[in-house]
């Protein structure tokens, strides 16, 4: 079960929007910072296929500027 965590940087001024967009995605849990323009994203997908699909969906988000991975774990 792939588990990853990221710092998610929103497009300028779009922190709220990004928060809503990511919360709507499956297998995603978000924790927004109160005083900075960044969110923490923890993903937990059941298999590689869903992980790939999630990655695609994240890339499509207009409110997301960049993702910095901070932790990765796959059960191999």
């Amino acid at each position: 079960m792939p588990v990853f965590s990221y710092l998610a940087y929103p497009v300028r001024g779009a922190k709220e929007e990004l928060l809503n967009d990511v919360s709507a995605l499956d297998h995603c849990e978000v924790m927004p910072a109160e005083n900075e323009e960044v969110l923490i994203l923890v993903t937990d997908t059941p298999d590689e296929e869903k992980e790939k699909a999630l990655q695609k969906n994240l890339r499509k988000l207009k409110s997301l500027q960049s993702l910095g991975m901070t932790f990765g774990h796959t059960d191999e």
Binding site: M1, V3, F4, S5, Y6, L7, E29, M31, P32, A33, E34, N35, E36, V38, I40, L41, V42, D44, G68, T70, F71, H73, D75
Partner: protein
């Protein structure tokens, strides 16, 4: 991936991200978003009463897999309504100390070696048989605890009193609540407070009598503060021998000289009578007057015996007796100004004010503990301020189940679950429920706790089983009792969770299951029983105390009396136990209800809790209108004429200081659990001696410098604390007893109240010098 591993990995992921964020954005905060919101998918919440004080907060323990990982206050528990204190919030960490005892130990060639649990249990049973054969049944004993779960105490009582036939059953609640018990019994004929915690929400005035409630019953203290905040006229009076956090919060802090609480309580009654504040309609119908013996001694010698003799008197004699206790006379001995005494009396006497009095160890650990309990009840009886919401003389319990186990199951030398061993009727009832011949139950009590350890020292007791308590730290005049336990021919069995000075003297150490590792029941100060199921598995070879007793009982041939199965024994024991209390004055709730609800008060009659006893409006056991004090044969509450008498040992020219001992918020008793919790240890890592700053100046002592405290019994060197959270007055020092590297009880005195047999840990004479 199972749930535990998955949450663990997710928590790693989350923490990595948090650390990275903090590096990139110093000062970043995630505010209201708690990590649990991400991980909470893996957390299950189960209810339990808290492991610590007698408040009996309801907790929800968060479980992930088979580990306890978090704590919340149980919002459904009326005791604390979702709030805890720092100990409660970190209570689950007590399960995971590195040196947890998980294997049975037996002493071979002077060291404790690991053995299979079965071998240890066999040895315990064998030694018991041997001791009974060579020295008689009264050579074996069990010393339990107010932190025993109710089934533990029940099994112990049944085995020792019912099967073996000895009354050598005692518990550490003798050192904690015995005076409260004898106070209740002498004033009302029945044990335990008649009010409940709702009194806190209803009172207009609170008086704390020598107890540091802010640190010792913090959640109830908060409830008191919330009441005061919501109604501007509410007053809190702290009546104590030293200044504490409770004094800081009080509207008025009144200091008195140790032991003079007896005189002040009488002076308050004098004032109530003089100002015509007596509630005559109440007194005429519901109160009678009595006196007992005086000059009753202190119990410092072996075989000390005392039996009080009650004599009925009348109000006239009571009023005459109080003439020695005018505020002006009492001011001279107590250090409390006549003005303050009159002020306190006016609060009690004001018919428009509801008054709740609280007390714990200041009044109980007292060589006249029974008397001072009587005297505070007297104040509430004279004014009729009792058994109604907000009017409450409330004895707070120290331990989580001193009420539930020791007092209600009766694990004391003279008690049975219902009644006392001296009554034939009570013995017959016990024999019937326990399925033992009635001749088994000995009608003569043997030893109270201090005398039991003296008997161990003398050799009259040869075998002692200690469960859930640490007497090698807590016995007063400790050296004698520790040396006694270590003598040849004494076999000590200790059921423990961590290595302590008590397990250090053991011949057998049985690894015990702790708290939520076993199903159990606790009973708190306000007569509320709370149930917890087994929430986490038992580690290693640990075994619940109840089952240890059952295993040994079966090896002694008592399978018939201990037939229960491992799966349902706790429920079975509860069902057997509550038969003893099956009457409207004491009925206990059924197992199913207790399992479902966050605590139920007894008496539990027709599906309703009795919140205020003796008041016909709330108590179905009353057979009179208005109030009915059905505990006493004359159906009245008793006012006792109790005088002021000196303490056992007062400061003199050679030993000019009072030594006072007690606790701090962060640590529970001897610290065997709380010192292994990081946040609690770091808050108070080491014990110290509180000393008044003027005294410190005079003696050349500075904050943190070493001080030697010596008494006629022993001495100890500790670091000084000046102007810390507690400030004693001149001529007194205070030492908290949670630190086993500072055994302050080597210095204290084993004097006790002759009626309750509870030792006085608050008063002995010491000298203090720079070390």
């Amino acid at each position: 991936m199972n749930i535990t591993r998955r949450s663990f990995i997710k928590s790693l992921a989350l923490n990595s991200a948090v650390v990275a964020a903090a590096t990139v954005f110093p000062g970043i905060s995630f505010g209201a978003w708690k990590e649990t919101d991400i991980l909470s998918g893996g957390i299950q919440w189960k209810k339990t009463p808290c492991r610590f004080c007698g408040t009996g907060c309801g907790l929800l323990v968060g479980i992930s897999g088979d580990r306890a990982v978090a704590v919340k206050g149980d919002p459904n528990c009326t005791v604390n309504k979702g709030l805890c204190c720092v100990k409660g919030y970190h209570s689950v960490q007590i399960l995971y100390g590195k040196d947890r005892i998980k294997k049975a130990l037996v002493r071979k060639n002077d060291t404790l070696v690991e053995v299979p649990l079965k071998e240890a249990l066999d040895l315990v049973a064998e030694k018991m048989k041997e001791t009974i054969k060579s020295h008689g049944k009264d050579a074996v004993s069990i010393y339990g605890s107010g932190q025993w779960s109710i089934p533990d105490g029940y099994a112990a009582s049944k085995l020792f009193k019912g099967c073996i036939g000895t009354n050598n059953v005692e518990a550490n609640a003798r050192l904690c609540m015995a005076s409260a018990v004898t106070g209740c019994l002498t004033s009302f004929g029945l044990d335990e407070p008649m009010g409940c915690y709702e009194d806190i929400d209803n009172a207009d005035v609170f008086v704390t009598w020598g107890n540091n409630m802010a640190e010792m019953h913090p959640v109830l203290f908060s409830r008191m503060l919330a009441n005061r905040k919501s109604k501007t006229h509410v007053k809190i009076i702290d009546f104590a021998t030293r200044t504490t956090r409770s004094s800081q919060a009080a509207d008025k802090s009144i200091l008195f000289k140790p032991q003079t609480d007896l005189a002040v309580a009488n002076a308050i009654c004098y004032e109530i009578i003089r100002n015509k504040w007596v509630n005559w309609s109440f007194v005429k119908k519901h109160v009678s007057f009595h006196k007992g013996k005086t000059n009753i001694g202190y119990g410092t010698q072996d075989h000390f015996k005392f039996k009080d003799k009650a004599e009925t008197v009348d109000f006239k004699e009571y009023k005459e007796f109080l003439k020695d206790y005018t505020p002006e006379k009492v001011e001279k001995i107590s250090g409390v100004s006549a003005k303050d005494i009159k002020y306190m009396a006016s609060l009690y006497g004001d018919p428009g004010k509801k008054v709740t009095s609280f007390w714990t160890m200041g009044m109980n650990q007292h060589t006249r503990g029974t008397w001072i309990n009587n005297l505070v009840y007297n104040i509430h009886l004279l004014t009729g301020k009792i058994s109604t919401p907000g009017n409450s003389p409330f004895s707070l319990t120290g331990q989580p189940s001193a009420c539930g186990t020791v007092r209600e199951v009766g694990t004391l030398t003279h008690k049975l679950p219902h009644g006392v061993v001296m009554q034939e009727k009570a013995r017959k009832l016990a024999a019937k429920i326990w399925q033992v011949p009635v001749e088994n139950i000995d009608p003569k009590p043997t030893y109270h706790t201090v005398e039991m350890f003296r008997a161990l020292d003398r050799g009259d007791i040869r075998f002692m089983w200690i469960q859930v308590t640490n007497p090698m730290v807590t016995m007063p005049n400790l050296r004698r009792y520790r040396d006694g336990a270590k003598k040849e021919g004494r076999f000590m069995v200790v059921s423990e969770i961590y290595p302590t000075p008590t397990s250090d003297v053991a011949d057998v150490v049985l690894p015990s299951a702790l708290w939520i590792e076993r199903e159990g029941f606790f009973g708190n100060s306000e007569r509320r029983t709370q149930h917890n199921e087994q929430i986490v598995p038992t580690p290693g070879d640990t075994m619940c105390n109840t089952w240890q007793l059952i295993e040994v009982a079966r090896r002694l041939g008592f399978k018939k009396q201990f037939p229960w199965s491992r799966k349902t024994y706790i429920e079975d024991i509860w069902n057997e136990y509550i038969q003893f209390h099956d009457n409207p004055k004491h009925r206990m709730a059924p197992y199913k209800e207790l399992k479902a609800r966050s605590g139920i008060q007894w008496p539990f009659v027709n599906g309703m809790e009795t919140k205020w006893r003796y008041n016909a409006k709330y108590d179905p056991a009353c057979k009179q209108k208005d109030f009915h004090f059905y505990g006493k044969p004359d159906n009245r509450a008793w006012i006792w004429l109790r005088p002021y008498e000196l303490p056992a040992e007062s400061p003199d020219s050679e030993y000019p200081f009072w030594l006072n001992t007690g606790r701090v918020l962060e640590h529970w008793h001897t610290g065997s659990m709380t010192r292994r919790v990081p946040i609690l240890h770091k808050a108070v890592p080491e014990s110290y001696v509180e000393i008044n700053s003027d005294d410190a100046d005079r003696l050349g002592i500075t904050n943190g410098s070493k001080v030697k405290i010596s008494s006629r019994r022993g001495s100890i060197v500790m670091k000084a604390s000046i102007n810390g959270r507690g400030r004693p007055p001149r001529g007194m020092v205070f030492v908290p007893f949670f630190d086993e590297s500072y055994l302050i009880n080597e210095v204290t005195l084993d004097a006790f109240c002759p009626i309750s047999k509870q030792p006085d840990y608050k008063k002995c004479a010491v000298k203090v010098e720079r070390a």
